[in-house]
């Protein structure tokens, strides 16, 4: 699939599809509301709620987004279908695969199980918000350097999870395989078993797990980064 020429076109197409679906649903449920619903949607700005919708302001990748959404809409669907942020992927949509992983107030969460209305006032970071301009986040660079993916579908979730993993180890979070709670692993001695356990909430059906573990090992300073990755890390001002 070719990328859209620009974000606006892309978003417009998604909105059209969303409205078409809404209109079809309304036609079955309540034909008399159909013309009212479609005209209201095409004329009103996004921030004025329609029937069943409420106005919500979300902070996503340091940008405030005000949307009118129904309370049942998940954060994942909001990102993908309303904001054009399609980096976060819908795999299982049931909190089992991890492809939708984003960071909320610095903590990794499954955006498919989070209702968007409940995220007001929180800082949301998606895979689109990790790079600084053209400079990749060190975890992104390490995934490229270490072949941490094959088809790439789980990759945004794996990367967000790995970014959080590094922070969790720094903050002294234990895992199920941490033997001694008085002697927590540090980044430089984080074992392969620890990395695998800490990433067990992210599945990769291509089974690129060895590359993913290698990428995390590189970011944690256990393996010497390649010259390219070292450059990325230096430019991003990040040291493992």
């Amino acid at each position: 699939m070719h990328p859209p020429e620009n974000g606006k076109n892309h978003r417009a197409r998604r909105n059209f599809l969303g409205q078409a679906l809404t209109a079809a649903g309304a036609a079955i449920a309540a034909p008399s509301l159909l013309s009212q619903a479609t005209s209201a949607q095409s004329e009103k700005p996004a921030s004025i709620p329609g029937q069943g919708e409420i106005s919500v302001t979300l902070s996503i990748n340091d940008k405030q987004e005000t949307l009118a959404i129904e309370p049942r809409v998940t954060l994942l669907d909001t990102l993908r279908e309303r904001l054009g942020l399609t980096g976060s992927k819908k795999g299982c949509d049931h909190g089992q695969c991890g492809a939708c992983t984003v960071l909320v107030d610095g903590q990794r969460v499954y955006s498919c199980l989070a209702l968007a209305v409940m995220q007001e006032g929180k800082q949301i970071v998606t895979v689109e918000g990790l790079a600084k301009g053209d400079v990749l986040h060190p975890v992104q660079a390490a995934f490229i350097e270490n072949d941490g993916f094959q088809c790439g579908y789980c990759t945004p979730g794996q990367i967000c999870a790995s970014v959080a993993l590094v922070d969790e180890v720094k903050r002294g979070c234990a895992s199920a395989v941490t033997e001694d709670f008085d002697n927590l692993p540090q980044l430089t001695n984080l074992s392969e078993a620890e990395i695998k356990e800490r990433l067990s909430g992210n599945l990769c059906r291509c089974s690129a797990y060895n590359g993913i573990v290698a990428a995390v090992q590189q970011v944690t300073g256990q393996a010497p980064p390649s010259p390219a990755a070292a450059m990325f890390m230096q430019e991003a001002g990040v040291s493992a």
């Binding site: 129904e70 992983t101 903590q107």
Partner: protein, 330 residues
């Protein structure tokens, strides 16, 4: 999922007041189980009362114990220094439950209210008395390898899925609840119920009651406590059987023993008889094997879960052995 109205509560009082006006309202915090169930129409609340902004987010000392606010995340409980030190089986159980993404948002109160992962409950093509009373139980004659060995009824053979609740049962935790009618405390082992002829009810919570905290009493015997979880894959899976065990020794004899299991019944199962048997005995394999036999003597295997009887006995023996040797990873 069906749409609903959304209310963000600003105080416990407001939340329970709001709940008292609508029988079909539900509270939502982490939502990791509820949102999932709503997606498959197992739950269709008319309104969700968002309680995540309430002041129930602290872990506080209470005398020699700890009070866990209902909104404290599973991650925060597991990583709390005092929980790790005094109740290591609780930290281990939480870390063995779910994934980091789930633990970051799942709460103390919500963990107690998880519903069974019986596949026949989730699949609306099958009969399930828990989902819809008097429709039958497809698990009774179905593939019931993950199902209950103890305390089941001919209405329901589902098991409670929580890891965290198993040590809470072993520790005699107390659940604090509040409704528009007032506050009360529920001993942990009375909080979840057996299916009987009302399998739709998982707990003894009354309509409109909100969990506000879980209290951990002092437990000097739990310093070397352990949690063992056995499952089909090594991580991010529900337990086939799990054991929370604590053995405290004095003069080479067992002074205190605590034993509870997950994956066995409709509620976390506490083995008080086996605990009494252990007290005063020498801490050795023979003693632990006898305790395991005693624990499982009432087991009623179904067609496909008979393997869990032996699995449970070996798990009990191993967990007690490791706890008696000073604890740690099992």
């Amino acid at each position: 999922m069906k749409n609903f109205s959304y209310v963000r509560a600003t105080s416990v009082k407001e939340a329970v007041q709001q709940a008292s006006t609508d029988n079909n309202a539900m509270f939502i915090a982490g939502g990791t189980n509820l949102v999932d169930r709503m997606k498959v129409f197992l739950d269709e609340p008319s309104q969700l009362i968002d309680i995540t902004r309430l002041e129930m987010t602290r872990i506080e000392p209470t005398g020699e114990g700890l009070r866990l606010g209902a909104l404290v995340s599973n991650t925060a409980v597991a990583d709390h220094p005092e929980v790790r030190r005094s109740y290591p089986m609780l930290t281990r159980a939480i870390l063995l439950g779910a994934s980091q993404q789930i633990r970051n948002v799942a709460t103390v109160g919500g963990n107690l209210l998880q519903r069974t992962r019986c596949p026949y409950y989730y699949d609306t093509a099958f009969a399930c008395n828990k989902r819809e009373l008097d429709t039958g139980c497809a698990a009774l004659t179905g593939i019931n390898r993950i199902h209950a060995l103890l305390g089941a009824s001919d209405q329901c053979v589902a098991v409670h899925p929580s890891d965290m609740c198993v040590p809470l049962a072993a520790l005699d935790a107390i659940v604090e609840v509040e409704s528009s009618k007032g506050k009360r405390q529920i001993p942990f082992t009375d909080f979840h119920r057996l299916p009987g002829d009302a399998p739709q009810r998982d707990t003894t919570l009354e309509p409109g009651e909100l969990i506000t905290a879980v209290i951990l009493p002092p437990a000097p015997f739990a310093k070397s406590s352990v949690y063992l979880k056995l499952r089909d894959r090594d991580s991010y899976a529900f337990a086939l059987v799990s054991v929370a065990a604590a053995v405290e020794l004095a003069d080479n004899r067992i002074k205190t023993a605590r034993l509870a299991m997950g994956g066995m019944a409709h509620k976390p199962w506490r083995f008080t008889e086996a605990e009494s048997f252990l007290v005063g005995k020498a801490a050795n394999t023979e003693t632990f094997q006898q305790a395991a036999e005693l624990a499982l003597q009432g087991a009623k295997p179904l067609e496909y879960n008979g393997f869990k009887v032996e699995l449970a006995k070996r798990a009990i023996r191993r967990a007690l052995t490791v706890s008696a040797k000073g604890g740690g990873i099992v």
